[in-house]
């Protein structure tokens, strides 16, 4: 189906569940009520249920009782290198398609805005204007993933249906995806063997705090520039991704205990992350 919410060309979307449309967030420029074209060609209106810029997904609810049945899903066993696929788009009146294969399956990929996606599909096919947000289907015509050419800045990717489902559930439930945030910028640094031995630390690195956002949980919690983060919630930290993973594991409103090294002394500080998703 097509979504008419930006200049130049409409964008593609897919009926994910009955009455619910999913598309790529960057292609939907308008807020409020959005005009869409249903698979049969008839016009309808939809409202935004929520968007998540980190995975570049947007969820729309179709207004009224227009018939909009969800497409069948492919099973996850098709998420393999070499699977023949069609990328389907509807950048306007007609449906167009592009044929290719799943080129690679990336494990544990992180988008540049920090969302972690267990598996991401890299595609060997041509993605045309307006294809982002449209479905990637397998040889039986079942939906495998949602195409996106913006997440990796131009190279065609697709987010598997399982990952999309998780985001859609959260967006339908609370209108945003929870992203715990404490407000620090960090840089990985090596820890001297002597220091590690002195404090009986496992691993040989930590995260140096290089900036703290104003009024952030980190500032309120008393984190200082130059502190060395060693553990968060019991997890050893050696890469910035480790901190994001540890924060994602926290529950809303719950504190996370941070083990830090300040001036050669070990300290433990508890901080309650805020939800950055809500502010977006």
């Amino acid at each position: 189906m097509a979504i008419n919410a930006r200049r130049r060309i409409p964008s593609s979307g897919i009926i994910w569940r009955d009455g619910v449309v999913v598309s790529a967030s960057h292609t939907v420029r308008s807020e409020g009520e959005i005009s869409i074209t249903l698979p049969g060609g008839e016009p309808a209106n939809a409202t935004i249920a929520g968007r998540d810029s980190a995975t570049d997904l947007i969820v729309l609810r179709i207004k009224g009782n227009a018939s909009a049945k969800a497409a069948p899903r492919a099973d996850a066993s098709s998420l393999r290198v070499g699977t023949l696929v069609l990328a389907v788009g509807r950048p306007g009146k007609n449906v167009s398609a592009s044929f290719g294969i799943v080129s690679a399956v990336g494990e544990g990929w992180r988008t540049w805005q920090g969302a972690r996606i267990d598996r991401v599909l890299r595609l060997d096919l041509a993605v045309y204007d307006g294809f982002s947000g449209g479905p990637l289907v397998d040889a039986a015509g079942s939906v495998l993933a949602i195409n996106n050419s913006a997440l990796a800045r131009g190279t065609p990717l697709a987010l598997p249906a399982q990952a999309v489902d998780r985001v859609v559930d959260e967006l339908l439930e609370r209108g945003h995806v929870r992203r715990p945030f404490i407000g620090v910028a960090v840089q990985p640094v090596a820890l001297s063997a002597a220091l590690a031995k002195k404090h009986q630390l496992s691993g040989d690195g930590g995260l140096l705090i290089v900036s703290i956002a104003d009024n952030s949980p980190a500032e309120k919690g008393g984190i200082l520039l130059g502190d060395l983060l060693l553990e968060a919630g019991g997890q050893r930290l050696s890469r910035p991704d480790d901190l994001l993973d540890a924060l994602s594991a926290t529950r809303p409103g719950e504190g996370v205990s941070l083990k830090i090294l300040r001036g050669g002394v070990l300290k433990t500080i508890s901080i309650t992350p805020t939800d950055r998703g809500e502010q977006e």
Binding site: S78, R80, V81, G82, T83, L84, G100, I101, V102, S103, A104, G106, R122, D124, D138, A139, A140, G141, T155
Partner: protein, 198 residues
């Protein structure tokens, strides 16, 4: 009719999943000096690997990565004109791809390129044979295919739909992938090994 069409497309698709797995076993990543990284093809059982000459810097150390572990390797022979290099990494093993005679290739035949384009490990790309370019003696000199290659694909295999080695991906010219025919690669390895033995 649709059901049978879907059935054959599904069968083709699952064959390609198998092809991707075979290729993943048969290739390594090659790193040397400051020339970035390329792909290498396991050749026989003795830890030999063939890659592009431009992926192996002369005088620099060579490392290969098979199954996520970097190991020391050593350059044995170069053929700059054909952009081929033979390296030895004794601890690396894997299946050797069957060879496909480029003489029997026809324009439009489906082919696949495997490699690590732009650092993405084990990526597969699909295309068709564009042409087989020949030298003055009319023997195959380049296999040209309409397949998307990027830096990192260099030295990787171009195979047919049965997984037989058509050539070694070497460069991109006017958007088309250009590979060194498997016949030239075979000759190069045979010559290099006989010279070492002599």
């Amino acid at each position: 009719m649709n059901a049978s069409l879907f059935g054959s497309a599904r069968a083709a698709s699952s064959n390609l999943n198998g092809l991707a797995e075979l290729l993943r076993e048969a290739v390594v990543e090659v790193r040397s000096g400051d020339v970035g990284s390329g792909t290498g093809i396991i050749w026989g059982g003795a830890g030999l690997i063939v890659t592009n000459a431009h992926c192996v810097r002369r005088g620099s150390s060579v490392e290969v990565d098979a199954n996520g572990k970097w190991r020391e390797a050593r350059a044995l022979a170069y053929h700059p004109k054909h952009d081929l290099a033979l390296i030895a990494a004794p601890s690396v093993s894997g299946p050797m791809l069957e060879l496909r005679d480029p003489e029997s290739l026809r324009a439009g035949e489906l082919v696949f390129a495997h490699g690590h384009p732009l650092g993405v490990r084990d990526a597969l790309a699909m295309g068709v044979i564009h042409t087989v370019a020949r030298d003055r003696s009319k023997s195959p000199r380049w296999v040209v295919a309409d397949v998307r290659l990027a830096p990192g694909n260099s030295g990787g295999p171009l195979v047919d739909a049965e997984g037989r080695l058509v050539g070694i991906n070497s460069m991109v010219v006017n958007g088309l992938g250009v590979a060194i025919p498997s016949t030239l690669v075979h000759q190069f390895v045979e010559r290099a090994l006989s010279q070492r033995a002599a």
